[in-house]
């Protein structure tokens, strides 16, 4: 994970006669390093040797369109924010913006301050979009790790909570992936609503992936939040269970060897690390403790949560 203080690299492709001095000085002052190019091929090589954080392309440069399309068709580099610098009289001759693969554009003349603001906006959006889980739209691992680190560093009186679903594979096998996705969306909504209401939107909810979720709440609210989440989960999940399975109290699916087996109705387990009890130095420690807790909490039937009582990983 990149430190926030590290210099952001901006690749600027522009025509020879266009001076980038003023833009450079404003951006450098704000902690950016600007690499300017007047040749599209050189710029392209630079992208691959030392990938920048943001790309700005002036439409007055020879070969700008080809440069842009090559970047945006590359599966690794296409997520880089690419901003077009163009002139109003060129807008008519340009193809429709629906076909253009840039992320934003500005019209020349433009103040370096505006460019700076738009770069920052694009950076934030790019991080969020790339990291967000497409199913639940919740932030993913990059944001989760950064948030845990920030919480640890700030010595906040918070609780790190790891939630996952029990027997989710059997549920998916029995009802299909579409309904599995619904279960995950429901879980995301339930956790978000409880956390937001309890912590006055001060908490955090992320989706690690699959049926693994993560949330942070103020330590003194952890128990109450977990109870509410479990109550809401058990209430709403019944809408995804067929009537006949609800009546008999189990679903039927196959075990690893393909033999038919009964599985309990979907439930949720939460492992809680209260940072006022347990000392954590690194996000990895948190997930290790959560893993241990999960084993214990999953031994119990139905939806449950457990708060860690040990002072540290080794103790």
């Amino acid at each position: 994970v990149k430190q926030e203080t590290a210099t952001k690299r901006i690749l600027f492709l522009h025509e020879r006669e266009h001076s980038s001095d003023r833009l450079k000085s404003v951006l450098t002052e704000k902690g950016y390093t600007v690499f300017s190019f007047v040749d599209a091929t050189d710029a392209f090589t630079a992208v691959f040797s030392e990938p920048p954080d943001v790309i700005i392309v002036s439409t007055g440069t020879a070969g700008w369109e080809d440069f842009m399309n090559r970047i945006k068709k590359d599966s690794v580099y296409k997520h880089l924010p690419l901003l077009l610098l163009t002139k109003e009289e060129m807008l008519g001759s340009m193809m429709s913006f629906r076909d253009l693969s840039c992320d934003d554009f500005f019209l020349f003349p433009v103040s370096p301050e505006e460019i700076l603001l738009r770069i920052q906006l694009r950076e934030t959006n790019a991080t969020l979009n790339l990291d967000a889980n497409p199913l639940t739209r919740l932030p993913g691992n990059v944001t989760i790790m950064a948030t845990i680190q920030k919480t640890i560093d700030g010595r906040e009186e918070a609780a790190l909570c790891y939630l996952d679903l029990d027997n989710f594979k059997a549920f998916n096998d029995c009802y299909g992936f579409a309904r599995g996705d619904e279960a995950l969306r429901m879980t995301g909504r339930i956790v978000t609503n409880v956390v937001n209401k309890a912590s006055n939107s001060d908490g955090f909810v992320g989706h690690i992936g699959g049926d693994d979720f993560f949330f942070i709440v103020p330590a003194h609210l952890a128990k109450q939040c977990c109870q509410q989440i479990i109550e809401n989960f058990d209430l709403v999940i019944t809408t995804l269970i067929d009537d006949k399975d609800k009546d008999r109290g189990f679903i039927e699916s196959k075990d690893r060897k393909g033999n038919p087996q009964r599985f309990p109705i979907l439930s949720a387990s939460i492992a809680v690390i209260d940072l006022t009890i347990t000392t954590i130095n690194h996000p990895g420690e948190a997930s290790a403790i959560a893993g241990e807790l999960k084993k214990a909490v999953k031994k119990k039937e139905g939806s449950n949560f457990m708060i860690n009582r040990r002072k540290s990983l080794k103790a």
Binding site: D181, E182, R185, M186, R189, I190, T192, N193, N196, K197, N232, L235, V236, T239, L240, D243, K246
Partner: protein
């Protein structure tokens, strides 16, 4: 036609499907607004109160069953909707709700009737030991949502249809069918489909007057239909003094009705209705 009312069915259906915001009664909206401003009011209390307003309930169900939230055709109770939508969405929905303007006085008893049928549906489901009683209550609450739409979208024509029902001495839905070529149950079905509400709500709403036409969720249809007939028989119809059509024999096939059961139900439902008489205040009438 002697009444001179013409509504093009296809065009009206399109209009119904475009409806995005149904207004509700001013007094109710004011009450809900006060409740959401008050931090001491719990989600449960709020949910219980909201579940007595057909318009707010239908809007919450529309939102949670929309593609945006990703549960189309899944959620059929207010409690589930509130858990999934959260307090902020609920607040937004209530704050942006509008009130009825120029609502014909004919429509006021409709709210009382809807609450009464909701309570009666729940009572019958409980008496028959059926599961998911809240769903029966919601279906009962929303069974006449088509009438709300007619009051808003075609107030003049609907006023004339109501008059025609009175002068010709027939049930309102029959007068609707005769003059408009469709009735409020059909409209309820349209809006349920458009809003992707679950079939277990849409079917009882769409078939509460002709239960035997329903091909699924027949028990639910029978319960709501019976609740509607009983409540009207007990004098809490949406339009007083309009005649009651004979009950569809289909209901008796779905529900083992005995004189004793009916008597018990009447007693229980009367008590339930009495408990909520102040909900739609007299002064709106």
């Amino acid at each position: 036609m002697e009444t001179g009312i013409v509504i093009d069915k296809a065009a009206f259906r399109e209009r119904v499907e475009r409806i995005s915001n149904l207004p509700t009664l001013p007094n109710l909206l004011e009450k809900f607004n006060e409740m959401i401003q008050d931090p001491s009011v719990s989600m449960d209390t709020l949910g219980r109160e909201l579940s007595k307003d057909q318009v707010i309930t239908s809007k919450l169900l529309k939102l949670v069953n929309s593609a945006f939230y990703g549960f189309p055709g899944r959620i059929s109770t207010l409690t589930h909707a509130l858990v999934l939508l959260g307090y902020d969405a609920l607040k937004g929905l209530i704050i942006t709700s509008s009130i009825f303007e120029n609502l014909s006085p004919d429509a006021y008893p409709l709210w009382r009737h809807s609450i009464a049928v909701s309570l009666a549906s729940r009572t019958i489901a409980t008496k028959l030991s059926l599961q998911d009683r809240e769903e029966y209550a919601v279906a009962g609450l929303l069974h006449d949502i088509g009438k709300v739409i007619l009051h808003i979208e075609a107030p003049q024509e609907y006023g004339a249809v109501i008059n025609h029902a009175h002068t010709s001495g027939q049930s309102l839905w029959m007068a609707e069918s005769e003059i408009l070529g469709f009735n409020h149950a059909t409209i309820g079905l349209w809006i349920c489909k458009e809003w992707t509400l679950p079939a277990k709500l849409a079917t009882p709403i769409g078939y509460h007057h002709i239960p035997s036409d329903a091909t699924e969720h027949t028990k639910r249809v029978a319960v709501v239909s019976l609740a509607d007939i009983m409540v009207r028989g007990m004098g809490s119809g949406a339009e007083d003094d309009l005649p009651l059509e004979p009950a569809d024999p289909f209901i008796a096939k779905q529900i083992p009705l005995t004189t004793q059961l009916l008597e018990e139900l009447v007693e229980k439902i009367e008590m339930e209705i009495e408990g909520v008489t102040d909900l739609v205040p007299e002064d709106v009438q």
